[in-house]
């Protein structure tokens, strides 16, 4: 500022008072973020600038311009702000900020007016500038933002293009009518070539006979906008006639208003996976040798038919087992056996190829023909007859002609209330009946024979648990010395105290135990028990000075058991029984079948002092000359010989035979025991014939060990 002069005639504190008035008028019209106090101090500075300009010589109104600009900077930009700014200046500036005694009234008013013009001009220019620059900066910002978004969109688009182009998935976009708009390379490759045949530009034309029924329903729902997406497995026919299987996902794309606009299809080629699955499924359900359905597929089909709510009402089953197939395998080898099975499978297949029939191989030489809803009960038996007829001509394997025989169990019945296991068991039992009746025939299931067989089944099944659960016990039948009627020993006879069927004799379960191999542990248990019992008798002095002997039966399987000698010796030693107090009974049949190797254990036991008895002698058609080489020291005459002696007078032929056997036995230094002695006549005659000892009901029935002393 120029020409500053003191202002002695100003009201004291005039500037401050002016600023306060000015602030009070203007502040409410500002958009400033300053507090009122801050705003007032700004106005104080501006007042000072105006006061100086007012009295400057020469007068220059331009500071008013800067005041106008400063007010815009302080956001006094509301339209109503300017009149308030100027109104206060007009009314109070001269009063508080000028010495009119120096300036003069007229000059003062004139200067005040010109300052107001300058303020208005500065205000207008600054506001104009600010408005322009703000609009400019906002436009720049909007443009920048748009550019950034455009770039981002471009990048996003580029990324999507890359995904679309390079994806391993086939991607296709169609409009809402189904017309294809764009597809990627994978899509074209899957479809079998570059580009699409023009006649198939619409997805609705891409039908395939193997389409699942819901595909097109889902597609229609999607096109109507009722569904956002769906996923299915869908086949397509390629132009070369092959089939493409895809895992197809179709999504609906809507516009901003939510209207369906496009469809996006993504497909994954699952042809190979599907083939693999089918192959695996086939392998899992078919027999590799014959290519027939296997056991699991047979059961699956059977269970389907038996399932509750299944539309089938009856099933028929032919359970076929080749007779003597093991012999083929054993004598001619597995390769021949396999060829035979293949040939059998082919012949049987030709008998069971009608709808509703299925032939399966469910075991080595076991085949099953399943008939769903057989037209008549006899039609299943008819199938069995056809099967037997088909196998009647010999099978040629290599240069051999093999006869094929088979036994068939036929079951036919209603599906309800049957389980697959029951049906199969019934068929199995019936097949065994056919086999037992001589084989190469079929048998029809009947409930009675089923029940018998089922109980055999059941016993076999429960043997192991019975052995563990101590359901077996031993009864002893006394052996009597014929010379003086004294007690010589006892035969141990095992019993099964079955919780449901009561006490079962050995004939009911020993063959089963022999068959399953359980005879070995069971036999060992019997031996232990019997030996222990013999010891007890000895300790108690029963039998007088001569120790009682205990006879224990040995089955063929036990005979072959490698640890027979070791086990027996161990049992004897453990109990402290002399070997001579034990006699092992082996059937004649088992003994004469045994070769020298198999006889060696018996020979070893005999050398140790264990007695060996040839049981059931006379039933085995043995070559009498052979007796010499056997390690036995006792013959037990089968009861069939003694039956003829029950009559009075006795059958003279039987008498002669027994006499002959006894004399032969004695010549070979074998003692003779007779079984089944039931009458005193019998007993007397046998004694007269020279028999050494006897057992039978005439002396005592088998009984518990404690009854032995009083038995004789």
């Amino acid at each position: 500022m120029t020409d500053e002069t003191p202002t002695p005639h100003l009201p004291p504190d005039g500037l401050r008072r002016f600023a306060t008035i000015w602030c009070r008028a203007v502040y409410p019209a500002t958009a400033t973020s300053m507090t009122k106090r801050e705003f007032e101090s700004l106005l104080l500075a501006l007042s000072e600038r105006l006061a100086i300009a007012l009295r400057a010589q020469p007068f220059d109104p331009s500071p008013g311009v800067s005041v106008g600009e400063a007010l815009v900077t302080a956001h006094c930009t509301a339209p109503e702000a300017l009149p308030r700014v100027l109104g206060v200046i007009d009314a109070y500036l001269l009063l508080y900020c000028a010495d009119l005694t120096v300036l003069g009234q007229d000059e003062g008013r004139s200067r005040c007016a010109r300052l107001q013009h300058a303020i208005a001009a500065g205000f207008a220019r600054a506001l104009q500038e600010r408005t322009r620059s703000e609009q400019e900066s906002l436009s720049v910002a909007a443009l920048t933002a748009q550019t950034e978004i455009a770039n981002a969109l471009h990048e996003s688009e580029t990324r999507f293009r890359a995904v679309f182009r390079d994806a391993a998935l086939g991607i296709g976009i169609a409009d809402i009518n189904g017309d294809i708009i764009d597809t990627n390379e994978s899509f074209a490759r899957m479809m079998g070539g570059i580009g699409l045949p023009t006649r198939r530009r619409n997805v609705l034309d891409w039908t395939h006979p193997d389409d699942s029924p819901e595909v097109w329903r889902l597609q229609r729902e999607l096109m109507r906008g009722e569904r956002e997406h769906y996923q299915v497995e869908k086949p397509y026919s390629r132009s070369d006639g092959t089939v493409l299987w895809t895992n197809l996902t179709v999504s609906l794309l809507r516009d901003a208003e939510g209207e369906p606009r496009y469809m996006l299809a993504m497909m994954e080629d699952v042809s190979e996976r599907r083939l693999l699955n089918l192959r695996l499924r086939y392998q899992a359900t078919h027999d590799a040798l014959t290519d027939l359905p296997n056991r699991s597929m047979f059961f699956e089909r059977l269970e389907q038919a038996l399932a509750a709510g299944s539309p089938q009402s009856r099933v028929g089953l032919c359970y076929l087992d080749l007779d003597g197939f093991k012999a083929v395998n054993d004598s001619l080898g597995h390769a021949v056996g396999d060829q035979l099975l293949i040939a059998v499978a082919e012949r049987l297949q030709s008998c069971a190829s009608e709808p509703g029939q299925m032939l399966a191989r469910i075991g080595g030489d076991e085949f099953v023909a399943l008939v769903i809803d057989p037209p008549t009960a006899d039609s299943v038996a008819e199938l069995a007859r056809r099967a037997l007829a088909a196998l009647a001509t010999p099978v040629t394997v290599g240069d051999r002609e093999l006869m094929v025989r088979a036994s068939i169990g036929v079951v036919e019945g209603p599906t309800r209330n049957l389980t697959s296991a029951e049906v199969l068991r019934s068929a199995d039992i019936t097949m065994y009946r056919a086999k037992a009746e001589g084989g190469n025939r079929y048998a029809l299931a009947d409930p009675d024979s089923d029940a018998r067989a089922i109980s055999r089944h059941h016993l076999t099944h429960h043997l192991p648990a019975a052995l563990k659960g101590c359901e077996f016990f031993i009864e002893y039948q006394p052996l009597v010395r014929m010379e003086d009627g004294s007690l010589e020993g006892a035969e141990a006879l095992v019993r099964w105290s079955h919780p449901r069927h009561g006490v079962l004799g050995p004939d009911r379960f020993i063959p089963l135990a022999e068959h399953t191999g359980l005879i070995v542990p069971l036999g060992r248990w019997v031996l232990q028990e019997a030996v222990r019992q013999a010891c007890k008798w000895q300790v108690r002095g029963i039998g007088g000075p001569r120790p009682l002997r205990v006879n224990v039966n040995l089955s063929p399987r036990q005979l072959h058991h490698p640890e027979l000698v070791e086990d027996t010796v161990a049992v004897l030693e453990e109990a402290g029984l002399p070997p001579s107090a034990l006699c092992l009974e082996v059937t004649e049949t088992a003994m004469i079948r045994a070769d020298e190797n198999e006889l060696r254990p018996l020979r070893e036991l005999a050398e140790l002092g264990v007695g060996i008895a040839l049981d059931d002698f006379g039933t085995g058609y043995s070559n009498l000359a052979n007796l010499r080489r056997l390690p036995a020291n006792t013959l037990k005459l089968d009861r069939s010989f003694t039956q003829g002696l029950q009559r009075d007078p006795a059958d003279p032929v039987d008498l002669k035979i027994v006499e002959g056997i006894v004399s032969l036995a004695h010549a070979l230094r074998l003692s003779v025991t007779v079984e089944g002695v039931e009458t005193s006549t019998q007993a007397e005659q046998l004694r007269d014939l020279g028999c050494d000892s006897a057992q039978g009901w005439f002396y005592a029935r088998p009984g518990p060990p404690e009854r032995l002393p009083e038995a004789v």
Partner: protein, 270 residues
């Protein structure tokens, strides 16, 4: 379906923007005709609107100064809009030269403008993000550069939460932010309300309608509803009050009556 975060946000200059309308209320020219048309309608229904905006701005200044006086110099201003004048960084850096400010807005134009304004300002930055995605805010590179979350931060939600109805789960988003902040952090919040102030329920509804027609929700909340936003914070004196009554610096008798509408408060995280 929710829009994936990597998909670019669109920009439509034919719809009004709440940040440009805010600028217009404050006398600025960072706005387009479409913003002004809606803002004028709003001011017709609600004549004191610019005064409320000014009161908001004045409250923000007082709260920022309060925070600096408490020794907190990190600021996270979400919904910062168009930085016209008297911004957080101006106030804060005037009070403490070491103050650091992160602005956050979801309006691409506001973000671009802020970026231009802050180009040469040290210790201040803007990130394009949305309050509804608090994780994106906290994990942004700018947040990493400007904020030390081990130390207290001032979270400013000035005139923001009334743009989110309950379906947008504002409480849940705020809780996420709160949990990320160090104890001693401050929440500075204002909210539109027809409680206590000179504004009628009808005026509030009318205003909400005008905003909705412009494409934005505007939710008036009651004082107890606003208090729920302070869950996990202790309100500092004087609690939740009309905006102009929060620690005023001038004689409040001189204030425009509209400055006493809306609700303001500052809370401290325990």
């Amino acid at each position: 379906m929710e829009r994936p975060t990597w998909a670019p946000q669109g920009i439509d200059l034919s719809v009004p923007s709440v940040s440009r309308m805010y600028d217009y209320y404050l006398g600025g020219s960072h706005n387009f005709e479409v913003d002004r048309v809606t803002a004028r309608k709003a001011m017709e229904a609600f004549p004191g609107l610019p005064k409320i905006m000014q009161a908001n701005r004045a409250f923000m200044r007082r709260a920022v100064r309060y925070a600096v006086a408490q020794g907190i110099t990190q600021f996270l201003d979400i919904g910062s809009g168009i930085p016209t004048f008297g911004n957080v960084h101006e106030v804060a850096q005037q009070a403490s030269p070491e103050a650091r400010v992160l602005y956050v807005d979801n309006d691409p134009v506001a973000v671009a403008h802020s970026r231009a304004v802050l180009k040469d300002v040290p210790n201040a930055g803007i990130t394009a993000a949305d309050f509804r995605e608090p994780e994106a805010i906290l994990s942004s590179p700018e947040a990493g550069r400007l904020l030390d979350l081990e130390r207290p931060v001032v979270l400013l939600l000035v005139a923001l939460l009334h743009f989110l109805d309950d379906e947008q789960k504002p409480h849940q988003r705020l809780a996420t932010l709160r949990d990320a902040l160090a104890p001693g952090s401050l929440l500075v919040l204002t909210h539109a309300s027809v409680d206590n102030g000179p504004v009628t329920v009808e005026q509030g509804s009318r205003l909400s309608e005008i905003y909705r027609a412009g494409g934005s929700d505007l939710v008036m909340r009651s004082e107890p509803e606003v208090a729920r936003f302070f869950e996990g914070f202790e309100l500092i004196d004087p609690g939740l009050v009309p905006i102009g009554r929060w620690r005023p610096e001038d004689h409040i008798e001189d204030e425009d009556p509209m400055a006493f509408s809306g609700i303001a408060g500052v809370g401290r995280k325990a």
